[in-house]
């Protein structure tokens, strides 16, 4: 049975130290930018590539600067590899393949820009991660030329072995984990709630953007009616034009504010909606690893019972049918079972380590994730609030001036 208070293995201890050290590393030694989207047209398809520029002082890199072009598929590949290799670490989400509602055009300027920003963030988050940034796949992604990358991608576990993994994973998830430690259950509950809340915030914010845009449309019609009116008046003409001017200014400020919301808050909330899904997947994978371990333990227990049990009548009959001496048959059987038990024990040891490592990795990364989540969301909301104050202040000053001048 798995016990949460089992002593940690040396490997996991090292990792824990690393987490604590890299709290606030001002000694950033790798800088990555994603920019310069370009369209490529081939006979079969059209796609966009982005320039990935890396500057680094890390020793594992041969050069200090790299410039490569990557397409979305390549980012997907990298994410997949990172998740495969570090199944219980929290990898920052990638922007989605398509955005269903809103923008359908893959080659729409706004869409490309939003995606570029998200890809930029993704790579930088990986670079900031103490373990993920050491990944060989990451290094190849940043430094290899296009054809080198293609070759590298082809290596790695073949199709069949990946199939095997998937089947195992499915089997384990069907079986379910039996003794999940309390802390992971707590995390799971939190993730459920968080996912709901962040999803709601995402929807609310998008709704605000929509309402603001509709408000703006009406304002654009409103101002000109005052100007029209001023044409029929003498005494009032100045004032009417003044009001028209105020409304026009309001339009300008509203447009800016909507832009800011779309650029700053909407993408961050959306990212964390995706994060919530990532977290759920990570928790599932952790559960599967534990489930596998539990399954093997159960198998071991069954085998032990088998071995220690008196030979069953059936065994005796079978043995005598084969012309064996009942004593010999039993002895052979015992030996066989002992061997299997030893094998199982070895496997279980490995799995136990694996569970240990997975749990610690997740625990460490969990704290880290929470900190960045708080930082990201706090700064996004702060920025939004600041922008709103700015909006009202600018409009206030404008009206105030108008009142003294023309009204």
């Amino acid at each position: 049975m798995f016990n949460a208070s089992m002593p940690t293995s040396p490997g996991s201890m090292v990792n824990q130290c690393k987490f604590e050290e890299d709290e606030e590393s001002d000694s950033k030694d790798i800088f990555i930018t994603v920019d310069n989207p370009e369209s490529h047209v081939t006979a079969i398809e059209t796609f966009i590539t982005y320039r990935v520029l890396t500057k680094t002082t890390r020793s594992e890199f041969d050069n200090s600067e790299y410039e490569v072009r990557r397409r979305y598929q390549d980012f997907l590949w990298l994410k997949g590899k990172l998740e495969d290799t570090h199944s219980t670490l929290i990898v920052h989400p990638l922007p989605e393949k398509f955005v269903v509602k809103g923008m359908v055009e893959r080659f729409n300027g706004d869409f490309i820009e939003t995606r570029r920003k998200a890809l930029h963030k993704f790579l930088n988050r990986v670079a900031d991660h103490p373990i993920l940034s050491c990944s060989e796949d990451f290094k190849v992604f940043l430094s290899a030329q296009a054809w080198e990358l293609t070759t590298y991608k082809k290596q790695g576990p073949g199709f069949l072995s990946r199939m095997g993994e998937t089947v195992r994973a499915v089997a384990n998830s069907v079986r379910g984990v039996k003794n999940r430690p309390e802390e992971f259950t707590a995390i799971q509950e939190y993730v459920e709630d968080f996912s709901n809340k962040i999803g709601s915030l995402d929807k609310v914010t998008q709704r605000i953007v929509k309402e603001q845009k509709e408000y703006l449309e009406e304002l654009k019609e409103y101002g000109p009616t005052y100007t029209l009116w001023s044409g029929s008046e003498e005494e009032l003409a100045e004032q009417l034009k003044g009001v028209a001017g105020c409304i026009e200014r309001c339009c300008k400020e509203t447009e800016e504010q909507v832009g800011h919301l779309s650029d700053t808050l909407v993408p961050v909330l959306h990212e964390y909606v995706l994060c919530a899904e990532t977290l759920k997947a990570v928790l599932r994978r952790r559960d599967n690893i534990q489930a596998e371990f539990e399954a093997k333990n159960e198998a071991l227990a069954t085998k032990k019972v088998d071995r220690d049990a008196e030979s069953s009548d059936l065994g005796f009959v079978w043995g005598s049918l084969l012309g064996k001496n009942p004593e010999e048959a039993r002895h052979q059987r015992q030996e066989r079972l002992d061997g299997e038990i030893e094998e199982l024990k070895e496997e279980i040891d490995k799995l136990e380590d694996r569970v240990e490592w997975a749990n610690n990795a997740l625990k460490g990364d969990w704290g880290r994730w929470q900190r960045s989540m708080r930082g990201d969301l706090k700064s996004a909301f702060l920025s939004t609030a600041e922008k709103n104050v700015d909006y009202y202040e600018k409009y206030f000053i404008f009206i105030h001036t108008q009142i003294t001048v023309s009204l």
Partner: protein, 435 residues
């Protein structure tokens, strides 16, 4: 500008150029009237204090629910004589009757409009239901405003029917009908006919008609768009209320961020709630604009009256000119223009001297009557133009003052909205900082 048809000597029609002396005179007259009338409002406080629902039987003997309004009057101060505190209930249709009476009796006055009978240009929150308490309240204010307008008008405030409307609830309706004002009312058909056929209306009235058409168009459009803008603004603010709810729920699962989120949520709720006051104030602004939208009808009514008077004058003058021409023909024996008479005399020979003499006498009489009629109509028209134009100038000044004030207060409303916004979001920012 003179009438085109016929010989000169026809009455002066419209007078587009008042000399400056005449203008001054007009202004002096107005001022005298104001003092003479001593706006009723100076002596008497008038308020439409309450509204109540009543049930009763209508003209086809069916049950109906209607609203009545309490009109209270009292002396302005202890020194005012002749005014005792009073109160009575009136319903909207009685106000309408009063206004129609004033329109007919003082056609040269731009009579203040009544508030809407039904809520027309609304945004979604306001119900279009006449029984809705907000609508009734705004109507109450509008009716009070109407009474104040009439009571402060230099001419209208002296009207007895108006005074009785304010002070006597029994038999008022009968008294109004007894004035016979309905008979004096010009038929719509007559007015429209005149509008099409008048040849020389006073240029100022034509201009005024154009202005009131323009003002009506632009104000309708403005009010409609404003209502849509209000609708949208409401939407923006209210959606932020959802932030309040979600922040509150989210704060329950967060340790470090919990407090900051919770208080930020409260500010979002406050922000969402603030739009109700903002839009209510704006509704008052919209009502001020609406009053002037409805005023355009009164302006057009005055213009129509002028056209009618002018048209009648032109008809009478034309008739006179015709008669003069007939006399001339008869006297000189020449037929200038083609006429049946000329044809018959060619065919059947001339008339006898006696016949001619008789005809001449009739014509002379008619000419005398005609000249009297022209003189009368001319005076009437002149009077009308003079008194109407005085009131129109008064109206223009009132409009410019009122609307200037309304526009300024609108700007002030916007400033107040900004201040509230700054406060809420600054507070929210503080909360986010604590996250």
């Amino acid at each position: 500008m003179m009438a085109d048809s016929g010989p000169k000597e026809v009455a002066v029609i419209g007078n587009t150029e008042l000399t400056s002396a005449e203008l001054d005179n007009n202004i002096k007259n107005t001022m005298v009237e104001i003092e003479k009338g001593t706006s009723l409002l100076r002596k008497m406080e008038i308020s439409v204090a309450e509204a109540e629902k009543r049930t009763g039987k209508n003209t086809v003997n069916m049950q109906e629910i209607y609203t009545v309004y309490l009109i209270e009057t009292r002396p302005v101060d202890a020194l005012t004589e002749g005014i005792t505190p009073d109160s009575l209930w009136r319903r909207y249709s009685e106000f309408e009757l009063l206004r129609n009476y004033l329109l007919v009796t003082y056609p040269f006055v731009v009579v203040a409009p009544l508030p809407e009978k039904r809520a027309e240009i609304v945004w979604h929150k306001l119900s279009a239901d006449n029984m809705d308490p907000d609508f009734v309240e705004r109507r109450r204010v509008g009716l009070e405003n109407f009474l104040h307008r009439v009571a402060s008008h230099p001419v209208l405030c002296n009207d007895n029917i108006f005074y009785i409307f304010l002070t006597e609830d029994k038999d008022w309706k009968e008294m109004v009908y007894e004035t016979g004002f309905q008979a004096k009312a010009d038929s719509r058909l007559k007015a429209v006919n005149a509008a099409f056929r008048v040849k020389n209306p006073d240029g100022r009235f034509t201009e005024l008609k154009h202005y009131s058409d323009e003002l009506q168009t632009v104000l309708s459009q403005l009010l409609r768009v404003r209502a849509r803008v209000a609708d949208r603004l409401y939407g923006v603010y209210k959606v932020h209320g959802n932030y309040g709810r979600v922040f509150s729920e989210w704060s329950a699962i967060e340790k470090e961020m919990g407090d900051g989120l919770q208080s930020a949520g409260h500010h979002m709720d406050a922000y969402a709630a603030s739009v109700d006051d903002i839009l209510e104030e704006e509704e008052h602004y919209a009502d001020q604009l609406k009053e002037y939208l409805f005023y355009t009808d009164a302006l057009r009514a005055v213009c129509r009256k002028h056209e009618l008077t002018q048209f009648e004058l032109e008809m009478v003058a034309l008739d006179l000119a015709c008669k003069k021409q007939q006399k001339e023909e008869l006297v000189t024996g020449t037929v200038r223009t083609f006429s049946l008479k000329g044809m018959t005399s060619k065919l059947f020979g001339q008339e006898t001297a006696e016949q001619r003499e008789a005809k001449l006498q009739v014509l002379e009489q008619q000419l005398k009557e005609g000249e009297e009629a022209v003189k009368e109509k001319n005076t009437e028209s002149d009077e009308f133009v003079k008194t109407a134009w005085v009131d129109i100038e008064r109206f223009k000044d009132q409009k410019d003052r009122d609307l200037k004030e309304a526009l300024i207060s609108y700007a002030v409303m916007q400033i107040s909205m900004c201040k509230k916004g700054i406060q809420v979001w600054t507070n929210a920012k503080e909360c986010f900082n604590k996250m």
